[in-house]
């Protein structure tokens, strides 16, 4: 039992195999893609492995503390940011191999032309509770 984050990047991963931006797809292709993601999540709920999924707006603001009594400083958005996270899904699975298998399936979501996107997904383990038995 271990939780993994399947992280979807707009940018920042290895070079994508197919790089047609989504706004160049047909509306039907977009619908098919969205449906695939929904079905995937529903299937994981049935297997008892789904924790959550979220998508992020591409534009964000950087914020930092600026000293006592002053409002926080904001910066951005930065159109040229190297890494851009699109969204994630959290799964709770028995093994690391199962996490890889599921990430592979999610990466097969259809893109332009209805063919699998082959997009790179990042698999990151969550930090757990420390085990009780330590020696």
């Amino acid at each position: 039992m271990a939780k993994y984050l399947l992280l979807k990047h707009y940018r920042g991963g290895p070079t994508p195999l197919y790089d047609v931006p989504m706004d160049q797809w047909t509306p039907e292709e977009i619908s098919a893609h969205v449906q695939y993601m929904r079905d995937f999540a529903a299937r994981l709920e049935e297997t008892g492995e789904f924790v959550e999924g979220q998508a992020l707006s591409p534009e964000g603001t950087f914020v930092r503390y600026d000293g006592e009594g002053r409002p926080p400083v904001t910066d951005g958005p930065f159109a040229e940011t190297k890494d851009l996270i699109a969204g994630w899904m959290v799964i709770d699975v028995d093994t690391y191999d199962r996490a890889l298998e599921l990430a592979g399936e999610l990466s097969a979501a259809p893109g332009a032309g209805g063919k699998p996107l082959h997009e790179w997904l990042e698999v990151r383990p969550f930090l757990n509770e420390p085990p009780t038995i330590s020696e």
Binding site: M1, G48, V51, E129, I133
Partner: protein
């Protein structure tokens, strides 16, 4: 009303329904519904016979479901026949449930969830919270597990080994929710040990008791990990230690050594030392040798290297480490510790930092980062 008492009745009541001809999955659902009703009703209207009450209400819940479910003719027929009440004190039903819920066809996560619900009497919501997943996910995991074992005959002797692995997981890998999973694992293992004479069941119970005894000393109030050598031993629970040692001695007397007894023996030797300096590391190394022989586990070899380092010096510990895969979880942490003991602070600092990056839990990340920082501060002086 004591919820714990209510929960101890769960497996026996499921067993009674199954003996009356209800399939396991349906019986388990009916008893869950009855438990929920008991939690609501008992505080104001406590029954004279809690178990009889649970059987009656579970049976009624089952009838409600069966009547509503007109599509299932077989159950309807069963309802009309209205079977004679089963024996009220079936001896092996609880044991049978342990085996069923840890059936080898189940994945570990499913077996854990099913065991906590059907044997432990926890609600789906409590289990979901304990494992930080949504309730719908946990409900699906449980119903899927029930479908997986639907073809398995009830009351068949099963595999004690898989039951023990499930209980070990509940004890060792829980989150800290509103359910105390370690205490629950001990309760379930104790209940199992009372039903089956088996050296490894006793060994696992002893292992749990001896580690649970240290719980108050394992972390500071703000959640920092305290290594075994630095723990305030006056905070160890001597009553649990005494019980653990007793259970272990009885187990070892059966002369059927297994990995849980060996691990418990190591924990007992730690418990026996009034100070860290008094630890009998030579005997601990001997038990690790047994453990390695029994399991051939790389994790046991890694822990053995730590013990060898204490018994024969850090160089011997590092020699014991050689040949192990550096990709093993906690390898870098062990290597860092042994190098520090050997006086090689730059390497130790680097290894602690490396260990922090690959540590599987946040308290360990923080602990190892502090170790690296401590050595780096010394090196700057």
């Amino acid at each position: 009303m004591d919820e714990a008492v209510l929960r101890t009745l769960t497996p026996a009541v499921i067993g009674i329904l199954v003996r009356r001809g209800v399939d396991f999955a349906t019986a388990e659902d009916a008893v869950q519904d009855a438990l929920v009703e008991a939690v609501r009703a008992w505080p104001t209207d406590p029954p004279r016979d809690p178990k009889g009450w649970l059987v009656a209400v579970s049976w009624r819940k089952f009838l409600d479901v069966a009547r509503a479910d007109t599509a299932r003719r077989r159950r309807e027929a069963l309802v009309e026949v209205e079977p004679a009440p089963g024996p009220s004190e079936p001896i092996d039903d609880t044991l049978a449930l342990y085996f069923l819920c840890a059936h080898p066809s189940l994945t570990p996560a499913s077996a854990v969830a099913l065991t906590l619900r059907a044997v432990g009497g926890l609600t789906t919501r409590q289990i979901a919270r304990a494992y930080l997943v949504p309730e719908t996910t946990m409900a699906q995991r449980i119903s899927r597990a029930k479908r997986t074992v639907s073809g398995v005959r009830f009351n068949q002797p099963g595999d004690v080994g898989t039951v023990l692995r499930v209980l070990y997981l509940v004890f060792n890998e829980g989150y800290s929710g509103d359910v105390d999973l370690a205490a629950e694992a001990i309760r379930l293992t104790r209940q199992l040990a009372a039903r089956i004479r088996h050296a490894e069941v006793a060994g696992l119970l002893a292992l749990m008791l001896l580690h649970h005894a240290r719980r108050a000393a394992r972390t500071t109030a703000d959640g920092r990990l305290v290594p075994l050598a630095e723990q305030d031993r006056s905070r160890w629970d001597t009553r649990l230690i005494a019980e653990g040692v007793q259970v272990l001695q009885n187990a070892l007397a059966r002369d059927r050594l297994g990995e849980f007894q060996a691990q418990a023996a190591i924990a007992a030797l730690h418990a026996d030392a009034r100070t860290a300096e008094e630890t009998d590391w030579v005997q601990i190394v001997e038990w690790y040798d047994e453990l390695v022989r029994l399991t051939d586990s790389p994790v046991a070899r890694l822990n053995r290297a730590v013990a060898v380092g204490e018994a024969d010096g850090p160089r011997a510990g590092l020699a014991a480490l050689a040949g192990l895969d550096p990709a093993l979880p906690r390898y870098a942490a062990v290597a860092a510790y042994l190098h520090e003991r050997d006086g090689d602070l730059p390497i130790a600092a680097r290894l602690y930092a490396e260990a922090a990056r690959s540590a599987p839990s946040l308290p360990e990340v923080e602990h190892l980062t502090r170790q690296a920082a401590r050595l780096n501060a010394l090196l700057r002086r």
